[in-house]
């Protein structure tokens, strides 16, 4: 009975989601990127680290479809391998934000009181740093490197998840079925796990998808500033940073990594929009 209920909801969700052509296209692009990342060694025409000084900064040709970089490395192969780094950065940093923020939001929303006040004020303070500034400050302290960028972008996402989860918990908590469960003697952990968590999933799913887009952009920005991926890692942001020095003569060095970032971010944004519309049609428009 319960199964058919969930299946029914999933069917409704899928019917709504697939109506949004942009979201479906975004999901397909994300799927292709994931397959590309997994199969990179089989797809990439060249070794992404192999330097060839005779082919430095060659424009796109039949041999090198997207040209070569300042060390003669094949751009297409580096972009293909770069998808691995980008997906990893996005997933790990959003996971940090989701776990940290989700936990804090759950506690703040469910238990309330002084604890809630302290947690939410700390979240307010973290949100007082505009844009990528908090992540930048954290990387400045932790030192450059991809791992630190993931941590910094992850921590920067915590307040957003905490606010969303707290808000959802507060509204779900007032429902009769929660009062009923409590009257039947259910423990807090059971109420949280069985009744509250499932209701948090839809909005968290939407925020996670949209946040993946932001995380990718911010991590690429930090790599562009020289604080993330370090040479010779085939990271899209770092590739752009190196291409910047040759923008006048070889714009292809910057054009393609940037397009790759934009396409993936666009896909996550479109899927996020589609999920939001499908899960909560009231928010459409």
């Amino acid at each position: 009975m319960e199964d058919s209920g969930i299946r029914g909801q999933l069917n409704v969700f899928w019917r709504r989601f697939r109506k949004n052509r942009g979201a479906v296209l975004g999901a397909i692009i994300i799927l292709i990127t994931i397959i590309t990342a997994i199969a990179a060694p089989h797809i990439a025409p060249y070794d992404p680290y192999e330097q060839n000084w005779r082919n430095r900064m060659d424009p796109p040709s039949s041999e090198h479809w997207l040209g070569t970089d300042q060390h003669g490395r094949d751009q297409l192969s580096r972009i293909i391998y770069g998808s691995r780094l980008s997906l990893t950065i996005g997933l790990i940093s959003v996971a940090i934000g989701l776990l940290g923020g989700g936990f804090l939001g759950l506690i703040a929303g469910y238990y309330g009181g002084v604890l809630e006040n302290i947690i939410m004020r700390v979240m307010d303070i973290m949100m007082a740093f505009p844009g990528v500034l908090l992540a930048l400050a954290l990387v400045a302290a932790l030192g450059p490197g991809l791992f630190n960028v993931m941590i910094a972008v992850g921590i920067w996402s915590i307040p957003l998840f905490a606010r969303l989860v707290r808000g959802t918990v507060l509204s779900v908590k007032e429902n009769d079925f929660i009062q009923g469960a409590r009257a039947l003697g259910a423990r807090n952990t059971r109420i949280l796990a069985r009744h509250i968590l499932p209701n948090i999933v839809p909005p968290v799913l939407v925020l996670s998808t949209l946040r993946l887009a932001t995380a990718l952009l911010s991590a690429a920005a930090l790599s562009f500033l020289g604080l993330g991926a370090q040479p010779p890692q085939p990271d899209w942001g770092a590739m752009l940073s190196q291409g910047r020095q040759h923008i006048q003569t070889s714009p292809h060095l910057s054009l393609y990594p940037g397009l790759a970032i934009m396409l993936l971010v666009l896909s996550f944004n479109m899927v996020g929009d589609g999920l939001r519309d499908a899960l909560d049609p009231r928010l459409k428009n």
Binding site: G22, L225, Q248, G258
Partner: protein, 313 residues
Amino acid sequence: MFNYFLRRLIYLIPILIGVALISFMIMHLIPGDPARVIAGVGASPEDVAAIRARLGLDRPLHEQFGTFMLGLLQGDLGRSLRTRQPVLGEIQARFFATASLALFAMLFSILISIPLGVLAATKQYSIFDNISMLGAIGGLSAPSFWLGLMLMYYLAFAVQIFPPSGMAGMPWTLEGFKSYILPSITLGVPSAAMLARLTRSSVLEVLRQDYIRTARAKGTGERVVLYRHALKNALIPIITMAGIQLGYLLGGAVVVETVFSWPGLGRYIVSAIHFRDFPVVQGGVMFLALTFVFLNLIVDILYGIIDPRIRYD
């Protein structure tokens, strides 16, 4: 209104202390000994000890924070390790470039986004609506540093209309104004995209209201309905969002200033990070965050002035 203003100011105090604390902690999060990092690889233990004593790093943490806060209240953010100049002075010298760039970027995004959003709403589900909203989500997805480089290549190198980088003068001079254009567009595109989406949804929302239906039923022309009745109310959330976005532009300036070698605070902070000039990073980040907090306070207060339905009690 006055009570609300006072309450907001009081509420601001813990936020300001928190921002100062986080900025202060930057110095102390550095793995290992910050004095050793500052002294460099070949420094002797005596040199490291001297730096530790000079920066007060040998004192207990709470004492160091107390001194930091006391300095902050007197406008003292310490001295740059690189130039030995007071950090606040260095920040002040660069803030105009950053603030004016953010203002130009905001102007650009408002000029683009509001007409686009209104047109998209009035022609809902048309080709224009679809293309402009796809453009908006594209604008949200394009990395600003990439967009900046592409604009630089096409409009400064291929067709030499604008200078490729730097601030060529004050914005009221022709050369200065031209040098603002590419960085302002680059910085303003994500805000323009966000505001265009918000304008569209806000206008659509207002067009569904009863008073619009009444106006139409009375035979009011569509143009008057849109511009006299709908837009006035639809603009309230848009203006609020524009105010908040202005603060976010200060954060975004860090990246855009680096692309265009803009002599602002953002680029200064990034170069300080590379030189491990921690007092500058600490002071610069805190200065931008405090400006952001105050901008949001102003937006909140203005929100009440432009929308009399908001009650503060």
